[in-house]
């Protein structure tokens, strides 16, 4: 015990020696305390007046803080779209990744902004075009149209607004398969069930897919449950990995790491029901996130933390407070966009940018707008975050676009636009 005592003492001494107290600690603290004389009963009215003044100052201070935040984050806080500063930026440049939003003044016009926030092109979609759910490829090189809003793309358009001819065999494939863009920005991936079993499908946008069986439900329990909720959340053509999840409220949740080329299940992880609110993956499938159900505001018992794991060995990369939910990662997985208050419709979303290796918070958003979507910069580090008014519940809300840099700086793109 004595040896341990001296070791512990020496360790604390080394720690303390590195950060000694300031030389005049006692004088400074005592002087500060003396400046805060404890009120006596005879001067209660002074305390009351001071409290009132302080209260007013605090209220004004809080209001000014909010005004300041709005000034930086809400260049156009109004809920209805305003005219874009320019109308037609011409054909988008080839090979430049762009972030697209709809021009509120012209139906079917999409404006593409580069990652410096400059408008670089206008795409004029053919009309009439049912764009209930249109999404851009990660780099903006092609647009997928999903009329039924269930993720199955029935047609694609190029940046000239021309329909891309589809492989005829695609008509045999289910349009409802929930497809996501792969990390190469070219392929789409999805999971589909047929009487022959589950299959992971991968295809170039308009080409006939390849399909491999995946044994995620060998005894058929998931299918028999009636609520399937199975989807691909990450698809990496580059690393030949896909992440499939079963994410259903009230049921056991699953994560499968699958090799795309042959459908082999490389790892499988399960979670008790109602512990997680969401399972998120990085686009390359290298990281997964177990968002605690606490992050969605669940009061009942839930996972005690939100955890980011490496899929290679399921080791923990970062543990976050259970109230935090990860929204997504940037392209090199060094940054995570997180929400710090439950993400709910009609409520302002508080967000932050967190450096994954260190957990350092680089940017926070505590404004009054609601998160409406994001894009990660292809082959870069930044995010484009869409914010909308909390009262705007339309399918294509009016949004402002904020480019959030990996150093925590932001660029607000002037104007309000319509979300794709």
């Amino acid at each position: 015990m004595e040896k341990l005592r001296s070791e512990i003492r020496a360790a604390f001494e080394r720690e303390q020696a590195a950060h000694p107290p300031i030389t005049a600690l006692r004088q400074n603290v005592v002087a500060t305390v003396n400046a805060h004389r404890r009120p006596t009963r005879n001067f209660q009215w002074v305390a009351l007046t001071a409290a009132l003044v302080l209260g007013i100052l605090v209220v004004f201070g809080l209001m000014s803080t909010r005004f300041a935040r709005h000034a930086t984050m809400q260049a156009h806080p109004q809920s209805s779209p305003v005219a874009s500063p320019l109308a037609d930026y011409g054909p988008p440049p080839a090979g430049v990744p762009l972030v697209y939003v709809q021009d509120p003044r012209h139906d079917g016009w999409l404006i593409g902004f580069d990652w410096a926030g400059k408008p670089r092109g206008t795409v004029k979609m053919p009309q009439p075009l049912d764009t209930n759910r249109m999404s851009q490829a990660p780099d903006g090189s092609v647009f997928g149209i999903s009329p039924n809003g269930k993720g199955g793309y029935t047609e694609f358009l190029d940046v000239q607004g021309n329909r891309i001819p589809m492989d005829p065999s695609l008509s045999d494939w289910p349009v409802n398969a929930n497809l996501i863009w792969a990390d190469d920005g070219q392929h789409l991936c999805g999971i589909w069930y047929s009487p022959r079993g589950w299959a992971l499908i991968t295809r170039l946008a308009t080409k006939s897919p390849t399909s491999v069986p995946v044994a995620i439900d060998p005894d058929g329990a998931i299918v028999r449950s009636g609520v399937i909720g199975v989807s691909v959340v990450a698809c990496s053509i580059r690393s030949d990995r896909a992440i499939i999840t079963r994410d259903v409220y009230g049921a056991e949740e699953h994560i499968w790491l699958v090799r795309i080329s042959d459908g082999k299940i490389l790892s499988h992880r399960t979670y008790a029901a109602n512990q997680l609110s969401n399972i998120v993956a990085s686009p390359d499938g290298a990281l997964i996130v177990e968002d605690s159900a606490k992050a969605s505001g669940q009061i009942a018992q839930a996972a005690p933390s939100t955890i980011i794991r490496r899929t290679s060995d399921m080791s923990v990369v970062l543990t976050l407070d259970a109230s935090i939910g990860v929204i997504g990662f940037n392209s090199d997985n060094t940054m995570a966009l997180v929400y710090t208050s439950p993400w709910a419709s009609g409520v302002a979303t508080h967000m932050a940018l967190v450096e994954v290796p260190t957990g350092k918070v680089l940017w926070r958003y505590d404004g009054s707008q609601e998160f409406a979507g994001f894009l990660a910069q292809p082959n870069g580090k930044d995010f484009a975050v869409m914010l909308k008014g909390t009262a705007d519940s339309t399918m294509h809300p009016s949004v402002s676009v904020v480019l959030v840099r990996s150093d925590g700086s932001t660029t607000v793109i002037p104007g309000s636009y319509v979300h794709l």
Partner: protein, 160 residues
């Protein structure tokens, strides 16, 4: 208990000698000198406001250090996120297995309440009565806390 000429308790005489211990305790908990200085400053103000609660004859040191510890706990709770870095090092159960442990690293990875117990007892050399007063437990409870914390550093440890 020392009082000023006006009859008020003399803050400098009562708490002044313990401000450095307060800072060092805050540093041991928060492990950040700036936060530790802020914590001891805030604790001093709270102590000043509550000075009348300090009973005649009661030792001021554990009373003040308890305020500091509570202030540090509040500061920790204010952090809306917590981070546990997972460096590419061997796992903790391996690290603590041999006598050749890196004591600095082992202490740094201990839970804060365990660190506090060890700090008060081994570094500040407080008697168990005062350790208990700071931790809010009885002297017997303080002894158990110190022992359990030390046992995390040396699993085979037997209490003297």
């Amino acid at each position: 208990m020392k009082r000023t000429e006006t009859g008020e308790l003399d803050f400098d005489a009562l708490i002044g000698p313990h401000l450095e211990s307060g800072y060092r305790t805050a540093l041991a908990i928060l492990q950040n000198p700036d936060e530790a200085h802020d914590a001891v400053q805030e604790s001093a103000l709270k102590a000043w406001r509550k000075l009348h609660q300090l009973r005649e004859g009661s030792p001021a040191r554990p009373w003040f250090l308890a305020i500091v510890a509570n202030q540090c706990r509040s500061e920790r709770r204010k952090h809306w996120w917590s981070v546990i870095r997972m460096p590419e090092v061997e796992r903790i159960d391996h690290e603590f297995r041999t006598e050749n442990v890196d004591i600095d690293r082992a202490l740094a990875t201990l839970p804060r309440e365990d660190r506090l117990a060890l700090f008060l007892y081994f570094y500040l050399d407080l008697p168990l009565e005062e350790v208990g007063a700071v931790l809010g437990v009885s002297p017997g409870g303080a002894k158990t806390r110190v022992y359990r914390a030390a046992k995390k550093l040396r699993p085979g440890l037997e209490m003297d």
